[in-house]
Each structure stands twice: as C-alpha cells, then as structure tokens.
Symmetry: C2
Subunit: 435 residues, 2 copies
C-alpha cells in the first residue's frame, strides 16, 4: 500500500540485539510541542497507534521554549502530564537549541534523539496532504540532490530567484522529467502547508542520518495550526488565545481532552506571562547592545544592526517583532532570533552540536510506570543511556551532552521567571511517573 | 548662633567671579530622593528657605534607583515634577553609581555635584538631632582623624571590635579628652538615627572636598524613615506601602501635597512593579552565575559565593535579600549589592569615578522657567557646563561624564522595563519646564 523510497541503511540490523521477547513489539515516535495538548494530538496518537498496530508511543517534546520562538504556553512538566494522560508512554525533552531552531534544525535534532533511542519503528506525524509517499519523494530529492535537480537549482539561483522559489522550480523540473507519479500541483501544495514542510524536514533528517525509522503520516484534522477559530479541532494557537482571553473554562472540553483541562487547571501557575518575557528580553537587549547580536543563532549582521537601531523603540516582545519584520524576514524568524538572544543560543553552539550529529542528552521528562520495560530495552540496545534522574547526569552523559543539559536547565530557570510559579530546581523535583 | 568648625577653604573666593547683581542672592542645595515627595520634604524646603532667607532651591535627586538598593517608587521625571511643584527651582540627577552607593559614596557623589555647580551657599538636610554643630564636630574628627583619635581607633580594632564600634569608642575618647561641648549621650544618639548618619557623611564630604558650601540642618519632623505608620508626617516608606495596598486615594492628602498626589495620579504608569524587578534580577543571576559576582560594587568573594550557592532557591528580589542577610550583612546592604548586579555597576567603575573626584554630568531633569537665570550663573561660574538638552551631551561633557551619563540612561531604560509605561527614549523627551 505504502511505497517508501529506499533509504534505509544497514543500521537496521542492530535491532537483532533486542531480546527475542520484544522482537515483535512496535514502537512509534512522535515529535511534538503539545502547546497545549488538544484533540488533534489525541487523534494523531490514537490513529497512528491503531494503523500501525503499535504497542508503545514515545514522544520527543520541546521543553519550555517552542519552535515559533516563544516560551511555551505552560511549562514542560504540565505538557508532559498531558501527553502521558493521553496515550504517550514516555516523554523525552528535545534540547532547547533544537526546539527553538529553524524547521531543519528542529527536525534534525528531534530525529537524532529518536535514532539514539534504538527502539523506534515509525516516526509518526500529521500532515495536510496525509501522503508520506509524496513527502518522502520530495525529501529524497532535496536531501540527495541528484545531478539534474542540482543543475536546474543552480541555474535558477543564478537567474536571481530566491532559494525557496529556485528549489521548487528545480524540484518540479526533476519530477516531470522522471518516472515519478506526482504532478506540479501536488508539489506546490506540499510546500503551502506548515505540517507538510515539517514532515519533509523529518524525512530529510531520517535520510541524512540513515535512520532505520520509517516515516508515517496521517492527514491532519481540523484547523490550520495558526488559525484562531475555536472548534472541535482547534489549533493550539486558537486554544492559547481562548485561554488568554477567557481563562481555563469548561468550554475547552470542545477541543481539549478533559484530563488535559484538569492538568492545566492544577498547573495554572506554570502558564507564561508575556509581560515578564518582554521585560527580560528588553533587559538582555540593553545589556548586549554594545556587543551586537550576530553571534546568536540565525542572526546576521544586517539583523543585528537593525535590532541595535531599533532598541530605543523597544516596548515589548511582540511589537518588537512587528517592528523588525520585513518582506524578507518573517515574524516567526525574528521571534526565534530574539529567543536565541534571550537564552544565549549561539551559532558556535549549533555548529558544534551539528558536527556531533545533533547530540542530545536522552532526558526523560515523565513516563508511565509501565514504560520501565521500554527504558530497559533502550538501555540494552544502544550505548546512549536514558537519563531519568538528573542526579545521574554526570555519570551517564558525555561532556557535550552535559553542556546541552545545562543550557536546557538554565532556559527552564529563565522560563520559571516569567510564569507565576517562579523558577524550579529540577534536581529537586519528583519524577513524573503516571499510572 | 551656629558655631561651625572651620574647614572652609580658599575656594570660597572664587565666588568673586559672580556678576555683582547676584552677589547677595542665596541658593540652598538639597540632596534627596523624594520617593515619593511628602509633607516632610515640603517642610524641609520651606523651613530652610525661610531660616536662611534663600532665593533659590537646587535639588540633587537620585534617578530611577535609590540608595536602599531598589528601583524608585515612581520614575525620576514624576518625582522631578513633584519637587518643582513644591518649591524646588531646578533638579539635577545624581548619577546611579552614587545614588545606589553606600552612604559615603552617596554623599560624596552628591556633594561633588553641588560643588561643581558653583552657586550653592548651603547644603540643607533634615536630621533627627537637628544640630549641625554636633554633626559637624563628629564629621570633622572622622574625616581628619586627629592623632589621639586614630590611636584609640587602631587599638580598639586590634582588640577585635567591629569598625563601627571601634570608631564610636575612639570618638568618645577623643571628645571627652578635648574641649568639645558634647557628651557621650550626644554622640551615641547621633549614630542611632539614619538622617544624622547621612548628615555626618554630607559634612565629611564637604570637608574632604574643601567645599565652600555651608551645612545646615533642621530637626526632622514626623516618623522615622522606615516607619510604616501613616500620619501627617509619614515616612516615604509608609506612603509607598499605603499606595501599594490602597492605590492613589484622597487619603494621601494627609501626608502628601495635593499637587504631588495629582502628579502621581497622572503618572501612575511610572510606578515600578516588584514582580518584573524580580524577574530581571533572577535572569541576570542566571546569566552571570558562572562568572561569579565579585566584580560588582560592594560584593566580596564571600557574598558572591553565597549568592551562587543560593540561586537555586531564588524566588523573588525581596525573599532573596531575606535569604542572604545575616548578622554581618544587613538587608539594605544586600539589596544595594543586588541592584549593582542588575545595573552592572562595578568596583572598577567606582574606583575610577572616585579617583576623579566623584565626577558627574550636571544633568538637569527639570527646572522652573525662572531658573534660567540660575543656569546662566552656574555656566558663568565654573568650567562645568549644565546639561539641559541631552542632545548637547557630546559637546558639553567629558568622556568620563558621558560614560556616567550612558550608565544613567541604560539604568533608566531598565527601570522602564519594570514599570507599565515601558522604556522611555530620554533623547526624545520634552524638557520639564515648570511655571
């Protein structure tokens, strides 16, 4: 039924290490933000689990800062509880450098983490097109850059097209000249929708890491992720707007599982406060303006200069993004850049992590009691040990992984400053173990 | 009537430069915070003006951060308007490094600024004892350290007494062996009250700078400065507590001039928000913890280590001061240290300013229309030019003064982040010129 372009490496044979009892168990991995968890997420987990007859669901989730360049709506522990209450068996923290990175870094960081777990069979995601074959076809060309494709790409770039346009043109030319069963409209539509684009990045990351994990996609249900319409399948963005305006009301049951509403109610002090975020960012801009900002990830000299020139008009985070955005610089790109400044995420950091295959500490934010068998399998299958108790970090993690963990912890401390509960000492927290 | 110990230098003759028309005009200087302005402040201005038959009142006022190591209750422009509405002719900004310094640095910085104006006849202040003679006597001994005094001081220090106790013992011994008409009780009482102690520092600063300015003190009326009792002469602290709890109500007319209540009402968005302050400080502590804190003013290695060891328990500014305080470290000392961290005020900065006679830009925050004659006199009498319009800063100020100004401006930007009005661009503000 599904036709997968063949990129699977010999790594798959390492699976033979598994104890025979587990050999037929299927585990799906999902990369997510759950910001907050809603019925669309529940549908994704349930549909993929059913379709693939999977036994376990492993989540790689952004911590306290998310990919659009903003603090998460509520903290990572609250979102972990939500996921565990809705079908996830175990939740790993995606390091903040990847979680707040471009779509490519986000995908490469998350896929690298899934790869390192050693037990994931499928990477499942929702997409607007719902066709993993179409997305895999595109990802395969983009990642491998066959000669015909590359030729057209370079020609179009030389003629003055933007990278995105040149790439699309080269893709279309390559596909129409090949024996590939997709047409212009399929490809154009694929690039129109954010979950398709992210899906392509996931598959590119699977290919480039020669991963044994299979991609699997279901058609996304409900509103576009940035829609503000509040319905049965609202976007996370619509839910955030609704809660900001109305609080945590019973109406949310239209669009969020009851358990998640209750978890949010019990953790309302973990919801982030945009006013405090604005104060922190303004302060950091004042502290750093004499040094410029181009050492931070994604910020070139032009943007750094633009930031410096506009600091005197800084009022708050949102209006500053509006002030800086332009035809060439999307709001979300700027927002991400500002979060890199806030958290001190630099180009040098990312270069180093990249050169080390997007390493991560394999840190568990929470798990079901029953997932201890999963942890055993993961620990048996690879050299990368699962970090459940932070106190074991120095024993289990490499120096680089400890560096990344430290950045995650300090980012979460900063997050604590902008929500009403205040900073947490994660070393002193009780593990989230759900029934 | 008043007997002043003779410390006045030959500098006084420089006054002969004044145009003859002004020769009999008297100008008093007052060093203040007006945090906020209350009836006690009004009483000080009116009583001193009347007693000394003064024509003009010049204020040196802390900017947006005050000596107890905290943001001012409302911003410097609001407090400037209050002062101008209650008898002040012109208000100068005391640079933030002195304004948030120990009593000694606060006094030396402010007196240096008054000296540089060239037209101040009296430095007026309220004190609990009301006797400028007693305070001058004590200040003179402490500043000049006569041989007898110093001998006892060193002996007592060697015997293990704290500096404060040894100093008091040596003072008493010196006074009882001299022909000085004060007794043990007078001296002990002088050191019991905060305004007396500040008065002694003012006079020490006058002596050490060989200032032509005469000290003058009236007895302070009303509550102790830290009292929380709300009466006709409430302390600024009681007024702040009252407003925080009750808002800007008509009851304030018991203890604040009507004009000041109206000014505060019109500038309610300039009142600082402790929650945002707490977030900024927490963030700075997280950013700097790996470097330690001992390069900041007043912070030794012990305190730096204590801060680092306690960061994991940081919840907010106030509770962090409570956590760090000890028998040897008063709350206000710690609060001041934390503000030095927040604003980046270092030991090196202060050493440099100190070595340059506590230089300041002579920056006017606001003035009465009629004070332009005062400005002319000040500009005629000294080489230090009065800065009314920030745009002239690079023309008028030395490099060092520009450095200090820059620190004031960035501190005020930081202040803007913690009040609801947001940061101001001071270069674009209209001058405060009152009728």
């Amino acid at each position: 039924m599904m036709h997968h372009y063949n990129y699977i490496s010999e790594k798959i044979i390492s699976k033979s290490k598994i104890e025979s009892a587990y050999i037929f168990m299927k585990t799906i991995g999902i990369i997510a933000e759950f910001n907050p968890f809603h019925t669309g997420h529940l549908h994704l987990i349930e549909a993929c689990k059913k379709d693939l007859k999977a036994d376990h669901v492993v989540i790689v989730m952004s911590g306290d800062f998310v990919q659009r360049g903003y603090p998460s709506f509520c903290d990572k522990y609250t979102r972990t509880q939500m996921a565990l209450s809705c079908g996830a068996d175990i939740v790993f923290e995606l390091p903040v450098c990847y979680a707040t990175g471009s779509a490519e870094f986000f995908a490469k960081g998350a896929v690298s983490l899934l790869n390192r777990l050693g037990i994931i069979d499928y990477l499942c995601f929702g997409s607007e097109c719902g066709s993993v074959d179409l997305l895999t076809c595109i990802a395969d060309i983009l990642e491998k850059e066959p000669a015909n494709y590359k030729e057209t790409l370079l020609k179009e770039l030389k003629s003055g097209l933007s990278y995105a346009s040149a790439r699309q043109k080269a893709l279309l030319a390559y596909i129409s000249s090949s024996n590939i069963p997709y047409n212009k409209k399929d490809v154009e539509n694929a690039f129109l929708s954010p979950n398709n684009i992210l899906g392509i990045e996931y598959i590119k990351a699977l290919i480039s890491s020669a991963s044994p994990i299979q991609p699997y996609s279901i058609k996304r249900v409900g509103q576009d992720y940035s829609s503000d319409i509040f319905t049965e399948y609202s976007s996370a963005s619509a839910i955030r707007s609704y809660i900001s305006a109305n609080g945590i009301t019973d109406n949310l049951s239209l669009t969020m599982p009851e358990t998640c509403i209750n978890i949010l109610r019990n953790n309302a002090d973990s919801i982030s406060n945009p006013g405090k975020l604005s104060a922190l960012l303004g302060y950091k801009l004042i502290l750093e303006k004499d040094n410029g900002f181009d050492r931070f990830l994604d910020i070139n000299t032009d943007l750094s200069n633009k930031i410096i020139a506009n600091i005197e008009n800084y009022a708050d985070f949102d209006s500053f993004c509006q002030l800086l955005k332009s035809k060439d610089l999307a709001y979300s790109r700027i927002s991400r850049c500002l979060v890199h400044i806030l958290l001190g995420i630099t180009k040098d950091d990312m270069e180093e992590y990249k050169s080390k295959d997007y390493i991560s500490p394999l840190r568990v934010l929470g798990m079901k009691k029953s997932a201890s068998s999963l942890v055993k399998r993961m620990n048996a299958l690879t050299d990368n040990k699962i970090l459940i108790n932070l106190k074991n970090a120095s024993k289990i993690l490499s120096d680089d992984e400890q560096e990344i963990l430290k950045k995650n912890l300090s980012s979460s401390e900063i997050y604590g400053l902008i929500c009403s509960r205040g900073p947490l000492n994660e070393y002193k927290l009780k593990q989230i173990i759900a029934n």
